[in-house]
């Protein structure tokens, strides 16, 4: 049997739990052996499910081991990695959870936060702008200043208190602290080696999103249409959290 046909048949049988072992494989007694072939099938499933368990530890705690494993098994059957770089495997899992999970409304949001955490962890290294750099900007230039975000920075909007739930479930399987039932927005950063997660204050998400899309500080602040909005406080918060790579000064106004 030509090489390509042999490997194709092997690959097809790997993905189909009820399939017979491929006809050209041999166990010790000179015939296909289901238990032997299932070692490979099991290695594939256990390895991929394990990768999801490692990427989504808090989601697993919230769902419970059995329910998480069932979700992960279904995901693994539907989506094999498209690259040997497993760092990226499972980035689509939150959407899959949203489409398939039942009881826990926060689960897809928590999974999105965990995925952002992993992306930030592996993101390109770059220095983050400091408060000192912000202080050096002349007040005249500030309104026209634009922000270059750090490569690790992620902005997330949830329909649940996912960031508070995520934080409250870091410790293990014990009872989680009560969380106020309100939607949250979060900022994930990794200015150096530690990933940080912050819950954004009201309008903080819209402000940062507008800056990320290229608006100047003045444009981003005016776009919020809120006379009380103090862009200075929000800007200091973004810089302090390590979300900013550099500040690009505007012309003096």
């Amino acid at each position: 049997m030509p090489f390509e046909a042999t490997i194709s048949a092997f690959a097809a049988a790997l993905g189909e739990p009820s399939a017979a072992p491929p006809a050209m494989t041999r166990g010790r007694l000179g015939a296909p052996d289901a238990r032997r072939f299932s070692v490979y099938r099991n290695n594939v499933a256990v390895g991929l499910i394990g990768a999801l368990e490692a990427r989504y530890p808090v989601s697993r705690r919230i769902a419970g081991d059995d329910a998480f494993r069932a979700l992960a098994r279904a995901f693994v059957r539907a989506q094999k990695p498209r690259s040997p770089v497993m760092i990226a495997y499972g980035e689509d899992f939150p959407e899959f959870v949203a489409a398939h999970a039942g009881a826990e409304p926060c689960l897809p949001d928590v999974a999105r936060l965990e995925n952002a955490w992993v992306e930030a962890y592996h993101a390109e290294d770059a220095p983050a702008a400091t408060i000192g750099a912000l202080a050096e900007l002349s007040p005249d230039c500030l309104p026209g200043t634009r922000i270059a975000f750090h490569p690790a920075t992620r902005l997330l909007r949830f329909s649940t208190p996912a960031a508070s739930i995520w934080a409250s479930r870091q410790g293990g399987d014990g009872p989680a602290a009560p969380v106020q039932a309100m939607a949250e927005e979060a900022l994930v950063t990794r200015p150096d080696s530690e990933v940080r997660v912050r819950i954004l204050p009201p309008l903080g998400y819209e402000f940062a999103l507008s800056l990320r899309e290229g608006a100047t500080l003045a444009e981003a602040a005016l776009g919020l249409d809120d006379a009380e909005f103090d862009f200075g406080t929000h800007l200091v918060g973004l810089v302090e959290s390590g979300a900013v790579a550099s500040l690009i000064p505007g012309s003096p106004s």
Binding site: M1, P2, F3, E4, T6, I7, S8, F10, A11, L14, G15, P21, M24, T25, R26, G27, R28, L29, P32, D33, A34, R35, R36, F37, V39, Y40, N43, V44, G47, L48, A51, K80, P81, R82, S83, P84, V85, M86, I87, Y89, A120, Y121, H122, A123, E124, D125, A126, P151, A152, R190, S193
Partner: protein
């Protein structure tokens, strides 16, 4: 002397014992700086854009030679090598300048889907030519020779016409690549297919071996109720594998040896004990036959 002189970009690793590097062991390693020949890492774990994994490996690399062990190139595939992945492997090798680079006689990707396991292939003239072409391509991309590892297998193929040892000898002869002799894989495959692991060793092209692997296996059984050993990397090296390793080192002389422990990780001192035991096997062989084996 420049900084570059302290690095080990090419040539043999220190003929000592290494262990697989895991982030969980980073602190005891850099705090105690144990005497070890090298650390080995899976290349794919360092293919992210940046972040703590790269920093930890930079720190380890300042203290020890490295061995880069690829698990995702799918050299045993009938289809072409993934050029993007080959480029990533070359980039990791450029960045960390490992003393050794190795991959597996196995496939893991088919039609774009990655199975995250080391899967077996038949040994025929057709597969030999394909594997040799792939190794030429890897060595050209890396501009250095690589080591190819013998697999542990649970099934064989009806169409195979080569013994595994002959297949590996011919691959090494055609490509000039070295071989990574995984002694646990020898033991596991021999048990699974009912042949004598010592005979396999006697037939192995030992002159091409540049590194040895040791690991723990798990025990299961097949459809016929016959024992089936699984290459699990989740326990200490088993006694019969230590015995086979002793025989391999008597024949090979001092050869860089790695303790692989990837699952259910032990505490650092337990892993270091395994490395020390391998060091004693090498030292004992050196004492018996000082001409063949260099002291470590």
């Amino acid at each position: 002397m420049t900084i570059a002189d302290f690095r080990y970009p090419r040539g043999p690793a220190a003929p000592g014992v290494g262990v697989g590097f895991k982030a969980e062991h980073f602190e005891p390693i850099v705090e105690t700086r144990p005497k070890l020949g090298f650390f080995e890492v899976h290349a794919e774990n360092y293919m992210g854009a940046g972040g703590p994994p790269h920093r930890r490996l930079d720190a380890i690399r300042e203290l020890y030679p490295l061995s880069l062990h690829g698990v995702g190139l799918s050299i045993g595939s009938p289809g072409p090598l993934d050029q993007a992945h080959l480029g990533r492997l070359a980039a990791v090798a450029r960045r960390f300048e490992p003393a050794l680079v190795s991959e597996h006689l196995a496939w893991s990707t088919h039609e774009g889907a990655f199975f995250n396991d080391l899967l077996p292939l038949p040994y025929t003239l057709e597969t030999l030519v394909r594997v040799a072409d792939h190794i030429d391509e890897v060595q050209n991309a890396l501009r250095r020779t690589m080591l190819l590892e013998n697999p542990s297998t649970y099934v064989v193929f009806a169409e195979s016409t080569f013994a595994e040892t002959d297949f590996l000898r011919e691959i090494a002869r055609r490509t000039g690549c070295g071989l990574l002799l995984d002694v646990n894989n020898v033991f596991v495959s021999a048990a699974n297919h009912a042949y004598d692991p010592y005979r396999y060793l006697a037939e192995f092209p030992l002159e091409a071996v540049g590194e040895v692997h040791l690991a723990g296996y798990a025990e299961d059984s097949d459809d016929a109720g016959l024992p089936l050993l699984i290459d699990a990397h989740n326990s200490p090296v088993r006694d019969p594998v230590w015995a086979l390793y002793g025989e391999a080192i008597r024949r090979l002389g001092a050869t860089p040896t790695l303790i692989e422990w990837d699952n259910d990780l032990p505490v650092w001192p337990a892993l270091l004990d395994e490395a020390r035991r391998a060091g004693r096997v090498i030292a004992a062989a050196a004492a018996k036959n000082p001409k063949r084996v260099d002291a470590v």
